[in-house]
């Protein structure tokens, strides 16, 4: 069976296995700890590398090819919180702030899940539009803005941009380091093109997949430490943490197929839509919706959806993309 093979090949990749090792380290309370500086460095590296490569790809493909699927991706990111919020309010019985917070996380995206997906495609020799990291860049902020507005009571007319927490948070969401590095490196890559890539390939490409494996070891530890919170979040959120990526991811794949992306590209758009932010969104939401309980959104994003996506989600969206293309 094809899907089983895809899952297997994904599960036996260094990246996923290092994630599992990280979870084990956390659960077994090992004294392994990554220094904070290493975590930041890996983040800076991964975002810069993926942005730069995407920029070089945009330079090759031309902006005229990129703008339509990028706009579609952005729209999808903005729409997700609009349906997730009422669902979390009505079915999950979450408070206004909590529902807005969770909706923001799931509308926004996880760069690492995206990178893991590109590695998966590379390992099975499946071509994809390298400029897909542009989708990653444009999907991060809109959902955060909309989720925060909803969580502040925008539906009840209570939202105001003058709240200092909201200002700080939205500024960070739009001008935050994630977006800045991604878009910045992307512009640089598209200005430098192939010539520039040749000079920095030994840094941004050669070690890239190994660096991701190391990063997932840390992510495993962070997710593993959250496992204890699973019982605090309730059954509904457990279900949501698995259903949401499947639904959003499928929507992403279908949309990708529809705007003309290849199997690989549609898979990546699915992965983005299905992923939940665990860095940009938590920070922005914490500042602007402090009354929301971060345990809910972080545990769901980090301890349920993230592991689900990098193990089962990625091959699943790939199979769906293949099926649609057949």
């Amino acid at each position: 069976m094809d899907f089983v093979t895809a899952i297997q090949s994904n599960l036996l990749s260094p990246a996923v296995l290092f994630f599992v090792l990280g979870v084990f380290a956390a659960v077994s309370k090992s004294d392994l700890k990554f220094p904070e500086a290493l975590y930041s460095t890996l983040t800076i590296y991964l975002l810069t590398a993926i942005g730069f490569k995407g920029g070089v790809a945009i330079n090759e493909a031309g902006i005229s090819t990129v703008w339509l699927p990028a706009l579609a991706a952005m729209t999808l990111g903005a729409i997700i919180p609009l349906w997730a919020y009422p669902c979390l309010r009505k079915l999950g019985r979450f408070s206004i702030a909590d529902a807005g917070a969770i909706a923001a996380h799931y509308g926004s995206v996880s760069a690492v899940t995206f990178i893991a997906a590109t590695n998966f495609l590379k390992s099975i020799d499946q071509p994809y539009e390298s400029y897909a990291s542009a989708f990653l860049a444009v999907m991060e902020s809109p959902a955060i803005i909309i989720g925060v507005m909803l969580g502040k009571g925008a539906l009840g007319g209570k939202f105001s941009f003058s709240d200092p927490g909201v200002r700080h948070a939205l500024r960070d969401a739009v001008l935050g380091k994630g977006v800045l590095l991604l878009i910045g490196a992307m512009i640089i890559g598209s200005l430098c093109g192939k010539r520039g890539m040749a000079s920095v390939e030994g840094f941004f490409v050669t070690p890239f997949q190994g660096v991701l494996a190391l990063f997932l070891l840390e992510m495993g530890m962070v997710a593993g430490r959250r496992l204890g919170d699973l019982k605090k979040v309730g059954f509904f959120l457990l279900l949501f943490g698995i259903t949401a990526p499947v639904l959003h991811g499928s929507a992403g794949v279908i949309l990708g197929h529809w705007v003309g992306l290849s199997i690989g590209g549609a898979t990546l758009l699915g992965v983005l839509a299905g992923s939940a932010s665990y860095i940009a969104a938590p920070a922005a939401v914490r500042l602007s919706l402090p009354e929301a309980n971060p345990t809910y959104s972080l545990t769901a994003a980090l301890a349920i959806t993230f592991p689900f996506n990098i193990t089962v989600g990625i091959p699943l969206f790939f199979e769906l993309a293949k099926y649609l293309n057949a």
Binding site: E36, S40, R225, P282
Partner: protein, 95 residues
Amino acid sequence: MKLVTIVCEAILEDRVVELLREVGTNGHTAFPVHGSGNQGNRSADISEMANVQIQVVVKPAIAESLLNRLQSELFAAFAMVAYESDVRVLRPDKF
């Protein structure tokens, strides 16, 4: 003179420093820390999830209004601890 020490979520650092300026301090010192409290363990490996300790030497009156504003604006919603102690400073006119 008073030394006010604030331990809070690292993402709050800019907000707290803004508040320090508003109550009239003209300096502060800060550094990353980890710890535990009512809101659980806060380890230091991801700065967005870690804590920061902010220390500021101020006149007693300013310490008072600083603590009041922390209490009314930030304490309810954030993981945070704040305390005040007596210090004798060099160059007291500086603060």
